[in-house]
Amino acid sequence: MSKHHITTTINNNPVEFLCEPHQPLLDVLRDELGMTGTKEGCGTGDCGSCSVTLDGRLVCSCLVLAVEAEGKTIQTIEGMAQGDHLHVLQRKFLEHAALQCGICTPGFLIAARALLERNANPTEEEVRFWLAGNLCRCTGYQKIIEAVLDAAKEIRGA
């Protein structure tokens, strides 16, 4: 077995790991590095539950090979709060009951943060289309959209 040695930065921490070339980044995060906050819902890039950012770009970690992460910076859900200070999106999701079972929530939070970093004043339509890559079966999306719009308002200081 010929494992690759990969050096990355995950949630601003230096991280090194060994992995097989065929292993998706999602499996390494969960099974090798014990970071189980990123979830697998389909393994084929159709549900968004495994969303992370790679060098600032929102991606599905099930559709990225771990070897491709060499020298890159990764942000996962585990790094979203600063200690016990929740990110405004995390707070708004709780306040707006924007989660029920919560398996899709990490993916939604990572995707919503990527949106608000690009567009601090999105319309409801823009939020719905940006988050169309994240599937949720419990909530019917309504309260997720309200939570993201409310978070945007707070970030804008409106």
Binding site: G43, T44, G45, L58, V59, L63, V67, A114
Partner: protein, 290 residues
């Protein structure tokens, strides 16, 4: 998963050499959003992956003699976020902006979308309509190939062993030109085109169409380039009659199959409907109303 070799060449020529010298199955890895799904399902079992994302020529987006040179490994989001390119080729952006989801577009590339050779690929009809030319690099040098000649069937391209697409060239645009791409999917996002239609047209000063390229996706073994459908618009003011002729020509050209996403009858009808609507959108853009 058999033992898999992963290489990250720095030049297109090195990538071509790796592919040419591979004994077992070898594939280019650009965005990987189709490749990894096929590897996971076992439909594809490569023994060598050539990751081209470290090759600057393939990851850059530059203006070249009035047109644009797009690296085959530029991801769709980067393309969509480039304001200068997006304003000049809105139709190509329509296509790039419909590939999968935001997450998928963060990785998926025009080169990968083309060479995966899915008949329903969203960027391909728009690129064909735009008249894009692929720069193909192989063991015996480079050649230019119009995009419509790359795909020859589901999962099959005209590329020889060791060849890969390095970049695309979009020619400079004459005045009063506009392009658009529309697709039909049951969901508003996150879907594979049941039918796709790309139209690119140019008007003269009086609003008469002087040139038109039409392409359909997901209605044949590969994206279709339809010169006759384009002719239906040339010489007209792209009025209702011309649009109906375009729709009829598009429907006639469609050779779809029944599958889990749509029926033959549905695709034939909707091919015409979308071709017409795409032409209307392209017309508006050509007149500067967008």
């Amino acid at each position: 998963m058999s033992v898999l070799r992963y290489e990250t060449p720095a030049t297109v020529e090195a990538a071509a050499a790796l592919l040419a010298s591979a004994s077992g199955p070898a594939r280019v890895l650009a965005g990987g959003t189709d490749m990894l799904v096929q590897m996971r399902s076992g439909r594809v079992k490569p023994e060598l992956l050539v990751d081209v994302k470290h090759i600057s020529e393939m990851t850059s987006l530059t203006q070249e003699n009035g047109g644009w040179r797009i690296g085959a490994a530029v991801n769709c989001m980067a393309l969509v976020e480039n304001k200068a390119f997006a304003s000049e080729w809105p139709g190509v952006i329509d296509g790039a902006n419909l590939v999968g989801s935001v997450q998928v577009r963060g990785r998926a590339t025009l080169g990968g979308n083309l060479c995966n050779a899915s008949p329903a690929a969203d960027s391909v009809p728009a690129m064909i309509a735009a008249g894009a030319v692929a720069s193909v690099v192989g063991p015996n040098g480079r050649r230019d190939v119009p995009v419509e000649q790359i795909n020859v069937g589901p999962g099959k391209t005209s590329l020889q062993k060791g060849e890969l697409v390095a970049s695309f060239f979009l020619p400079s645009r004459p005045a009063h030109s506009g392009d658009a791409y529309l697709r039909f999917t049951p969901r508003s996002e996150m879907d594979i085109a049941v039918v796709g239609a790309g139209v690119n047209l140019t008007l003269d000063a009086h609003g008469v169409c002087t040139a038109a390229r039409v392409s359909l996706g997901a209605v044949a073994a590969q994206a279709l380039f339809l010169p006759e459908a384009g002719q239906a618009l040339v010489g007209t003011k792209v009025d209702e009659a011309a649009l109906d002729a375009l729709a009829a020509s598009a429907s006639a050209a469609a050779k779809p199959i029944d599958d889990k996403r749509g029926t033959k009858a549905f695709r034939i009808k909707v091919a015409g409907v979308l071709a017409k609507r795409a032409a209307i959108a392209a017309l508006a853009r050509a007149k500067g109303i967008n």
